[in-house]
Amino acid sequence: MKSRLFSLAIYMAATISGLLVLLYPFFLPAISMRSGYGTFRAGEMPAMMTLLLGLCLIVLIIEAQGPMMNTKLIALLGVLVAINSALRFIETAIPGPGGFTPIFFLIILVGYVFGGRVGFLMGALTMLVSALVTGGVGPWLPGQMFTAGWVGMSAASLRLIIQPFATKSGWKKASGISPELILLAMLGLVWGFLYGAIMNLWQWPFIAGAQGQSWAVGLGFSETLQRYVAYYLVTSLVWDAIAATGNVLLILAFGAPALKALRRFQKRFSFTYTPEDEAIILKNGEGITR
């Protein structure tokens, strides 16, 4: 219990720090009396953002991989990341319409079935491996890994919401689609837009665009938000709408059989073998498999 609470504190702290780094244009006017980026120079900001997000990501990955010294989990993640990276590789070679990408489908389902830690690693490592394979390594990678990791982790929290619906079997009969699939599709829809919106924050403060869309030092919160929304609507809405629609369609079309397969293998992967003499070492319930 103590370890879990501590783990939660680390996740919260690293996530809040990451968000503080990405969302600074919105709160800067509230905390800074100076003009400019406080005591930073403008040229230092992208490098500082990369550095700080990278450090937050290190903490999140270390925490997420903590109890992962389980051969089955390592092999499972390795293979699932490979499948997802192959989908991204195919998508890079034959681009789909707009922002359509098949990778979030599997990240969401894996996070939902195997839990938040696995979901986070699935998202983050998919971005890492596919970047290594497609030559997409760059300063944007920590941000992509961070955000995709949270896509997977947030899917696990859906289980808490879905639990009450699971007992109401009448809903599925009425709608023809399982309630969990509808909620997962809704999550895919939200992340389709949110992923783009978060990744835009990476470069938005440094882009000199139209007057009503670009960020300027000294603006208040509401005007900053207004300008960002205007920028997002003009540059990203259509792109992200295709991504979000793609997520929904993929989850509704393939979600049910994929969930069934993942759950079947989750059961097969869940047995643990603990030698008698080592039972004492593992009695704290870490579930390490030898």
């Binding site: 300063p139 882009i207 030898r290």
Partner: protein, 352 residues
């Protein structure tokens, strides 16, 4: 040059330079140096599959950045023409300054992309994976498995597609992808099961250092480190009296210290550790000298020309020959690759 860290330090140099200057003359010099290194590497490592052409992408990025900025940013004094009407965002004067600013943005983006492509050309995937710190070894194993299994997955996808085609399967709508995706997923999961059994049979994770992430002290250090990082970030942005750099520095050190401690707990063996040759050392030293010249306070060195801005009226960008000359140091690994070509070819052939 075979030492991955020498390449990483070299990579840091153009990235830092691209992030601190907007002077098109300097940007062109850095980009040409990076392209020279890339082309020499490409001459040695032929046949590497790449999903897209850099030249096409570069052209597209520059055109997009220039046109986008020219049409949406109406600042500047040198008006080229005016778009009439009341089209939102677009109507208004199109200035030469906005064109130059947009093209500069494009150059920076291409430069960053090209620098990373050079790293991808210089190092093989296994070298890149070897750069993952020891503390992340479970993640490194997952990454290794994924990278190794990726070609198999693509091959498997092709086989499934052919098998379904023989049975008369046609791709007409979205649901038609199901007979391709499900065998791929289920086949992959079966493979994971076999792999896990093989790893267990070979004694993977059978040492007492199993619960690596469960050590309390490094986790506590990481938590404190993250809190200090965010405090430092906020205090730097707010311009408060507290030294934000110090907080960020201490926070970063705590996180890296925890990482180092975690790494010490894990046993990792390396079959072949790349040695530091004189070319690696020289490249590293040259890169560090360039970084020092551009980042450290050096009396008498004028860096004003780095901060060139085309707005409000376009002028010729200033040029400091000392800075320009220093940038040519980026050519170092390219020269080594060019003159060490036969050796490299031999080593890559051996690698096959």
């Amino acid at each position: 040059m075979k030492q991955p860290w020498a390449w990483v330090i070299w990579l840091a140099t153009p990235l830092v330079l691209f992030s601190i200057t907007r002077n098109p003359l300097y940007l062109m010099i850095i980009l040409l140096c990076v392209l020279f290194v890339g082309l020499t590497l490409q001459g040695v490592r032929t046949g590497i599959p790449r999903p897209f052409s850099l030249w096409k992408l570069a052209l597209w990025i520059i055109m997009f950045a220039t046109v986008f900025n020219a049409l949406t940013s109406h600042y500047g004094q040198t008006v080229m023409f005016t778009i009439p009407g009341k089209l939102p965002l677009i109507s208004g004067k199109v200035t030469l300054e906005a064109v130059v600013y947009g093209a500069t943005n494009g150059l920076i983006l291409i430069g960053i992309l090209a620098s990373f492509l050079v790293l991808t050309l210089a190092l093989r995937t296994r070298d890149l994976i070897s750069l993952i710190p020891r503390a992340f070894f479970p993640v490194a194993v997952v990454t290794s498995i994924a990278v190794t299994y990726l070609p198999t997955t693509l091959r498997q996808f092709q086989q499934i597609r052919e098998a379904q085609a023989i049975r008369g399967h046609q791709m007409r709508k979205l649901r038609d992808w199901l007979p391709l995706l499900m065998p791929l997923l289920v086949g992959g999961l079966e493979h994971a099961m076999q792999l896990a059994e093989a790893m267990t049979a070979r004694g993977f994770a059978s040492t007492k250092s199993v619960p690596v992430g469960r050590h309390f002290h490094p986790r506590f250090l990481m938590l404190v480190g993250v809190v200090l990082l965010s405090m430092g970030w906020v205090s730097q942005l707010s311009g408060a009296q507290v030294n934000g750099w110090l907080l960020i520095g201490v926070g970063g050190m705590l996180i890296l210290g925890a990482l180092w401690y975690q790494g010490r707990q894990s046993n990792r063996t390396t079959y072949h550790r790349p040695a530091w040759g004189w070319q690696d050392i020289l490249t590293m030293l040259v890169s560090l000298c360039i970084l020092a010249l551009f980042l450290l306070p050096i009396p008498g060195l004028n860096r004003e020309s780095l901060y060139y801005d085309p707005y409000p009226k376009l002028t010729l960008p200033p040029f400091n020959p000392i800075l320009g000359l220093a940038m040519l140091g980026l050519l170092t690994p390219g020269i080594f690759v060019l003159y060490g070509k036969p050796d490299l070819e031999k080593s890559f052939e051996f690698g096959k």
